[in-house]
């Protein structure tokens, strides 16, 4: 993890990410990701790109620092033994996407304020707030965060369609 810079302290307001979801068709979240230090209005078109943006943002800001190294799939003999293969760097390159024009006139389906405070056990721990419903969750893993967001978005879609 040599490319992650030393953490020199991150102001509280820069620790928050804003996730605006504009589309949740077939449970696929698409929208905009913003962080004061990393960038504003970065487009994600699915869960994978959102996860990559969040991970890259934390690496860029050096906050919070990762506690574990990234693993990789390995076909060598050692990989089938006790040892695990790791990536030399944690280079994550989220794709740069253009914002669909229809989102400019649209209100987001759901807006989440996310703050990840730890990156232990190869996952994320922190808190998230759905700004529309006011619900908050202190999540212990990335899966808990994903499930919370999916549940809130599904409820919002049901409300709109009703």
């Amino acid at each position: 993890m040599t490319e992650i810079k030393e953490n020199i302290g991150v102001k509280r307001e820069n620790q928050f990410d804003i996730i605006e979801v504009y589309d949740f068709t077939d449970m696929n979240p698409a929208g905009l990701f913003s962080n004061n230090m990393y960038g504003q209005g970065l487009v994600f078109n699915n869960l994978m790109t959102l996860v990559m943006l969040v991970e890259d943002c934390m690496n860029h800001n050096a906050y919070p620092q990762p506690m574990t190294r990234h693993r990789k799939l390995d076909a060598s003999e050692d990989a089938h033994g006790e040892g695990n293969s790791f990536l030399e760097t944690c280079d994550i390159k989220p794709p740069v996407l253009e914002m669909p024009s229809e989102w400019k006139e649209k209100k987001p389906l759901g807006t989440f304020r996310l703050r990840i405070v730890f990156r232990t056990m190869s996952g994320w721990q922190g808190d998230v707030e759905c700004l529309d419903s006011g619900k908050t969750l202190r999540f212990r893993s990335d899966m808990e965060l994903i499930m919370f967001m999916a549940e809130e978005l599904r409820r919002r879609v049901d409300e709109i369609s009703a």
């Binding site: 869960l47 799939l73 794709p95 996952g123 899966m143």
Partner: protein, 146 residues
Amino acid sequence: MGEVFLLKVLDYKDKMISGKLFDVERNKHYDYDNLSQILMLISGILGENRAEDMQKDAVYTSASKEGYFEMVSGEKSWLLNKLRVFRTFKLSICFTNFNTWQGELWCVDTGSHNAFRSVLELMLLLNAELESAAAGGESIAAEVGA
């Protein structure tokens, strides 16, 4: 040991993963169009069967003998594009501690393997493998075109 799934990936354009998920133990398969659907499908299956105590390895072995792998694995470049399997993974979820998943992921096509300690790690492993497969596919296409 653990819940065993086969993840057949048919497409990974713009990181939109789509294909078929095979539940080896119950001999069921599901179509998926994105990563969220995979997570929700597996999460639902794990939720239903947490109380069960079965010898999954035995079931997995018998399933593989029945030709599951022949059906789902391999890059069959001579087939039409829409039938081609991009990558096939064997996914074994052994634990669901800390509200996430721990287990092992094998790429059936390349024989590569590693363990994962969270859903995040599983997603990044899948992405890295599918990205490299996409890059390989592009270079082959360029050679064929040339």
